[in-house]
Symmetry: C2
Subunit: 210 residues, 2 copies
């Protein structure tokens, strides 16, 4: 236990397996899946291409592994936040929205959305898992929370399907714009993550009558 904690303390101490996944994720995000070669992943991981095939049997397996670890943390934190019944629904809204932004805008899995779009026809299982284990779970947790808040009279009643789009549309748009235009310095201020989160909260509060 102490050893493995120590091993993960510094990035240099990451296992080869994890270094590969970190490097691959960064490359997939920057250049997409097809334009990222196994050679490039190997070099970025500090090993030779043949060594890469000792850890993963194919490029497809690397892509799958990049997603494997990503879903759970965000979903768990969302469950924790919405489950805190000692707080009012209004008080739980901001941390919930913050966690949604973490998952979609800041986490590497959320940022992978364009890579999923690129690969969905070749590897539909990835898109399917992304939907089932991440998008769907987030939707269900958030929608249950908002429905309950409306039933309790803390939120003004509003078409729940519309709330769904209001809740997820804005961070998904943000993460898309950042992956398309993140390289342009003159556009950075428009896609400032903290600022957009505040604007998003203002929209949700208005819709929920807060």
């Amino acid at each position: 236990m102490a050893t493995s904690a120590k091993l993960q303390k510094e990035p240099d101490m990451l296992s080869t397996h994890d270094r590969i996944l970190e490097a691959a994720t960064a490359l997939f995000l920057q250049n997409g899946y097809a334009a990222t070669s196994m050679n490039a992943i190997a070099k970025a991981s500090g090993i030779q291409k043949a060594s890469l095939y000792h850890h993963f049997e194919s490029k497809e397996a690397v892509l799958f592994a990049c997603f494997e670890r990503g879903y759970q943390a965000t979903v768990e934190r969302m469950r924790t936040i919405t489950g805190q019944n000692d707080q009012s629904y209004a008080d739980r809204l901001e941390p919930l929205v913050g966690e949604i932004h973490n998952g979609i805008v800041h986490s590497s899995v959320g940022q992978m959305a364009p890579v999923i779009a690129e690969t969905t026809s070749r590897y539909p299982e990835i898109a399917r898992r992304f939907n089932d284990e991440f998008i769907d779970e987030m939707h269900n947790i958030a929608m249950a929370f908002l429905s309950e808040g409306m039933e309790q009279g803390e939120f003004a009643p509003f078409e729940i399907e519309a709330m769904d789009h209001a809740l997820f549309g804005i961070p998904v748009n943000l993460t898309m714009c950042r992956s398309m235009f993140g390289g342009f310095e003159d556009l950075q201020h428009r896609y400032d993550t903290d600022r957009v989160k505040e604007l998003h909260l203002a929209i949700l509060r208005k819709l929920l009558g807060l």
Copy 2:
């Protein structure tokens, strides 16, 4: 004139140049840019690969040409809609939103967003033009319209930057979800374009006090 109109009447009558662009766009949308080979584009256009290079000097040139024609129509129609001063601001909102959905969700250029994300680091000029000639223009037209409507007292005052995200976030999210999950039949109803447009309008009306 009569001849060229006739030529464009049936898909079989398209010029080779246009058939290439239609085929290339469809393939880029389905498989992404890097995974689409010039051979595949040639076959889908009904010609040989070498003939393709008679019409476009490189694969990069094909990608650029796929975007070239796409921006203007949506922007022009948005200008026409918002310019109709004989109608109330409230009455112009629905057609304006309809046109935004046309441009982002239904047009091939809007659907290309993930392809832009895939290629932005190799070909930043494409992402730049997509922003400057499409996104930026749509934002400017829509924001001017909403600001005026608020000044005239037809729309309730609301942070204009937030309106920006409320207006574009939902269709961009829709087009992303459709490109990631469009292949899954059980998810189709969630991403029904007409339904989402109605929900989007309901959100905007609520924010604008209509």
